[in-house]
């Protein structure tokens, strides 16, 4: 086991290959109906958004309440490319990532001067502006939405049902998570954290604050863009401005907070749990908001670092105790 751990830490890519192989088999072994595939794809989309949000909010400490707008940019880049150019996912995905990354710059620039609630307001305005722009733009399908966005076809097989689309969304999610892992585990991730913790001493260590702030915004925007595109093509391939409101934003934030702000797996754990809990409480719709509000409040009160931080603490405390006991002897 120790040896295995060591190999993985040197070749993290291997870990993702293993995860890929496992996830490849999951539907055949565990899934009993198509809805589970559909839900998995939704989880994967949420994971991509949350992983990106964790970069800018969790790691770099920049408040953003407009991220859902970037997710919308990703979706609508894909949607419009499909509508006007007939592009498929293989074209729209990279395009959505690039376009949304550019929007990320616009969202990041206010962070040079604004902080906390002011930055929140600025980004909130940005996100809402995007949604309203879409809603009022005939080019974007306005309130009719864009429908019948195509699903990819591989070797003549259309991936147009939830069970098949799983095999599209899953690898995209894994690649995104892999990128987020390697970014955050490298010096870039540490620089983000230093900027979050104390910009002045980070600068003294030679870290360019502005560069890393804007980088965090761009990277997280690219994640949102990728998620948006994957969602746009998700069968039945329909996007509508209603899916990109402040409520969705709060849900994404809840995922990151619940999973653990600034924890490397935080966004991912949060996205999985929140999406599943939401699904299980679907019939309890009357109490759903209450349940969610309560979960968030309790998490912040009792697990300020979310599930990820909580688990870490258990492990670290354990290791530390062991060491102390050994020392005592």
């Amino acid at each position: 086991m120790e040896k295995f751990k060591k190999i993985i830490s040197q070749y993290p890519f291997l870990g993702f290959i293993i995860a890929y192989l496992i996830l490849l088999c999951v539907p055949t072994i565990f899934f009993t109906d198509l809805y589970q595939s559909h839900l998995s794809s939704l989880i994967f989309v949420n994971i991509i958004v949350a992983a990106g949000l964790n970069i800018v909010k969790g790691y770099c400490g920049q408040v953003t309440v407009g991220h859902v707008g970037l997710y919308a940019v990703g979706s609508y880049t894909a949607g419009c490319m499909f509508m006007y150019l007939g592009s498929d996912l293989w074209m729209t995905l990279p395009a959505a990532i690039i376009v949304t990354g550019l929007f990320g710059i616009a969202f990041g620039i206010p962070s040079f001067r604004l902080e906390g609630p002011y930055l929140a307001l600025a980004t909130l305005g940005g996100g809402e502006a995007i949604r309203l722009f879409i809603e009022n733009g005939e080019f974007f399908g306005s309130t009719y939405g864009i429908s019948s966005i195509s699903q990819p076809v591989i070797f003549g097989v259309p991936f147009d049902t939830p069970d098949k689309y799983y095999y599209i969304s899953m690898p995209v999610m894994l690649i995104a998570v892999y990128f987020s892992y390697s970014i955050l585990k490298s010096s870039i991730g540490r620089a983000f954290m230093s900027v979050r913790e104390d910009p002045i001493s980070a600068a003294a260590s030679g870290i360019d604050i502005k560069k890393y702030k804007i980088l965090a915004f761009i990277l997280s925007a690219m994640f949102a863009g990728a998620a948006g595109a994957v969602y746009a093509h998700l069968p039945p391939g329909y996007i509508h401005p209603n899916n990109y409101t402040v409520i969705e934003m709060v849900t994404f934030l809840a995922m990151v907070v619940f999973g653990g702000l600034g924890h490397i797996w935080g966004g991912i754990i949060g996205a999985i749990i929140i999406t599943i809990v939401y699904d299980l409480t679907r019939p309890l719709y009357e109490y759903q908001l209450f349940i969610f509000g309560l979960t968030i409040v309790l998490t912040i009160l009792f697990m300020p670092k979310g599930i990820g931080g909580f688990i870490d603490k258990i492990f670290i405390d354990k290791r530390f105790k062991k060491k102390k006991v050994e020392e005592g002897k």
Partner: protein, 265 residues
């Protein structure tokens, strides 16, 4: 000269926090900066390290580069490292990550390599971590590497900011009251570690310290600031006997006995 300032000035409103200070520091020296509270010592550090912009007419040169108007991270990248009087630890990061983020300017791999997570990243990361663990064990914090910095005691925090500042392998290390609030035993311990690190990494040092004994014992030269002005400079024993210094500290002339007490030599 490793560090040189000419006509360095900074005013906050009407208050001249640093007033026309000329300062020269040759490589390899240990320089002490003393002065009463509010005399401008920390401001001097903040100006040199780029945290504050100096007033027009000032000039700062480090290692042959004009850094008067450079932003802090560029100055850091040139090899000027510093600690802060209020520590500015990364509270919510593990001890090892605190130190490793100090390594930032020495990281060799490219941004894009990190994004796609190439193997050489993980190799280098391992090297960095090993080196930083070594540094941590040097200052005696290796056992706490995985803990959050916020869980450390006051003395350990001072060791940690020291290690973080050293991590970039600076040419010049500026320490702002590194021993403030420590018990005498811990002060001795810390100074010992600082001296060992200086030898190990070949550092040039500037130390702001209000415990005069520390300064007198360790520094080659001492610069004395008062009301933002440099009022004296010289070897510890020269400075000790300088009337202006004594006046600045106590506001009046003293006899030998009183002075010895005040300076606790």
């Amino acid at each position: 000269m490793l560090l040189k300032t000419k006509n360095l000035m900074k005013a906050f409103g009407g208050l001249k926090a640093i007033d026309k200070v000329d300062f020269e520091l040759p490589a390899g020296e240990i320089r002490g900066i003393i002065g009463p509270n509010g005399s401008g010592k920390s401001t001097f550090f903040n100006l040199v390290s780029g945290v504050y912009d100096p007033d027009p007419g000032s000039y700062i040169e480090f290692d042959g580069h004009d850094i008067t108007d450079e932003p802090p991270h560029k100055i850091g990248a040139l090899g000027l490292s510093r600690t802060f009087q209020l520590l500015r630890l990364y509270q919510d990061m593990s001890v090892i990550n605190n130190v490793m983020s100090g390594y930032h300017t020495r990281v060799k791999y490219k941004f894009f390599d990190a994004v796609i997570g190439r193997k050489k990243i993980w190799d280098q990361e391992k090297e960095i971590k090993d080196e930083m663990m070594e540094l941590l064990s040097f200052v005696g914090l290796a056992d706490y590497a995985e803990l959050n910095a916020s869980e450390l005691s006051g003395g350990q925090r001072r060791l940690l900011v020291l290690a973080r500042a050293i991590a970039m392998k600076p040419k010049l290390l500026m320490l702002d009251e590194p021993a403030a609030g420590l018990s005498p035993v811990n002060v001795d311990n810390l100074m010992k570690i600082i001296m060992q690190l200086k030898d190990k990494y070949g550092l040039t040092l500037i130390i702001i310290e209000h415990i005069l004994k520390v300064v007198m014992d360790t520094c080659n030269t001492v610069t004395v600031l008062d009301h933002g002005q440099k009022i004296a400079e010289g070897t510890p024993s020269q400075v000790k006997d300088d009337n202006a210094v004594i006046e600045a500290y106590l506001g009046k002339k003293m006899n030998d006995e009183e002075m010895r007490k005040a300076l606790a030599v």
